[in-house]
Amino acid sequence: MQQLVNGLALGSIYALIALGYTMVYGVLRFINFAHADLLMLGAYAGYFVAPALAPVFGEASYGLLAATVFLAAVACAGVGAGIEYLAYRPLRNRPKLTVLITAIGVSLLMEFGCQHPAVFGAKTRPFPQLLPAEQIHFLGATVSRVDMVIPLVTCGLLMGLWWLVQRTRMGMAMRAVSFNQQAAALMGVNNNRVISFTFALGSALAAVAGVLYSVRASGIDPLMGIRPGLIAFSAAVVGGIGDLAGAVLGGLLLGMLETYVGGLPGVSNYRDAISFGMLVVILLVRPSGLLGRAQVEKV
């Protein structure tokens, strides 16, 4: 039971990050390598704003968490849109792989930039306590508050994003842009605006994930995004990249798997191999991911 709760919480975090990957991928058809680092920036934003907000909302309260998450998301949305404008937009009509390289460059830049002593430094920093420390006891499991909050947030965001993509004009534009930017332009869609919006949104998602992740892990450092980023990216793909529900499903699956294997004495050292192995198996059985629809190609 305890492991189930652990797995659910971890999985929800991965799902949250995977949502960001999938959002950006869904529209631009490229893996935003810098997503993991935006997560880290979001965490640092939270680290800096939380103490300032604490007097307003009270130490360790839900209000404090919400306000911190919100501000971090706004900050990261700005950064994300800025990155898009400077590093990705000039390459708009180039092959996606070209953009992938600038994304890797941006990712390295953020990692090494933030490690520089003049910026954040390489050391791990303790993340402020945003939620009350008491545990909740629940069916024999001990659950920390953040572990309760995370699945709810993920669930809420999933529904919100789904609504955005399927039910709004912006969502429709996003889907059109994702398939063919020229054709979308011929429909009157302002590609640049849609893409900037998508990036801002994706980055905000990264920030939300970053803050929640840090609350849970309680320590942050400039390289903290890499591993969850990698896992969440795999999760997004296994779920069927571009598919929101798939991202969440993939994230949950990987979180559960990791928790389950990580808790097994004797094989916990093979944890990554086993979870990655499972991914391979899943993709071999379902080559376009769990929920992904095979891309139709009429001959």
Binding site: R169, M172, A173, R175, A176, F179, N180, Q182, A183, A184, A185, L186, M187, G188, V189, N190, N191, R293, Q295, V296, E297, K298
Partner: protein
């Protein structure tokens, strides 16, 4: 309505259009004919903002729109049914049509126009929920034209609308083109390989050859022009 002045467009080292000028009066149907590679598609793409002009101007209703992005032109009432169809393959037929009306806010009008499109292409109505990518070639062509109509443009660019369409339907399409031109006063710039039929319904025509305007005249004059007959109307 639409005017092109001394337009030069190229791809990398290749120059595809060497300064062409043409004029489409409001409410007219104008046809652009020319052999393969003459630059017809290039002309339309440059007008609708998909390609950048190297030199020259494009004027829409007297305003210089040479530097306008494609989406801005749509807002000004231009629609383009492109070569190669470019339907949104993973959206359904109905979603594709709704994308065509992306900038419109009048739900009522959109509904009416949908009905109109269904009237022209009943096949589309049968397949509303099919993914556009799995439609047959001709069905996709219908969708591309229908989608262009959905923005309720003032000026419509059609790149080979009859491509891949069965003969019977080709006749229908041409009839409808005339119909919308007459009823809605829609200005149309048409690129066609079936020059014969195109010239029959047009008011005016231009003949393009290797990126230059070779001839221009009223459609019925062009139809009887010996050179045109030989080169583009298949001799007879």
């Amino acid at each position: 309505m639409l005017e092109v002045r001394d337009l030069e467009v190229g791809y990398g080292a290749i120059t595809a259009l060497h300064g062409i000028s043409l004029k489409v009066e409001t409410g007219r149907i104008v046809t652009l004919i020319g052999a393969n590679g003459a630059g017809k598609t290039t002309t339309l793409r440059a007008i609708s903002g998909l390609l950048r002009a190297r030199r020259g101007q494009v004027l829409l209703e007297g305003l210089d729109v040479t530097r306008c992005a494609a989406h801005e032109l749509v807002a000004r009432g231009l629609a383009h049914s492109p070569e190669g169809r470019m339907v949104f393959a993973n959206l359904s037929v109905i979603e594709n049509l709704r994308m065509g009306a992306y900038l419109r806010r009048d739900a009522e009008g959109v509904k009416r126009d949908l009905e109109f499109v269904y009237g022209v292409f009943p096949r589309l109505q049968e397949r509303l929920w099919q993914q556009a990518g799995t439609l047959s070639g001709g069905e996709q062509q219908m969708l591309a034209i229908g989608r262009a109509l959905m923005s309720r443009p003032k000026c419509l660019l059609l790149d080979e609308p009859s491509l891949g369409i069965a003969p019977k339907l080709v006749q229908t399409i041409f009839q409808k083109i005339v119909e919308i031109n007459r009823q809605l006063g829609l200005t149309i710039l048409l690129v066609e390989q079936s020059a014969h039929m195109a010239l029959e319904i047009s008011h005016y025509g231009y003949v393009l050859e290797t990126g230059r305007i070779l001839l221009e005249d009223r459609a019925e004059v062009l139809r009887t022009n010996a050179r045109v007959r030989e080169a583009y109307l298949g001799g007879g």
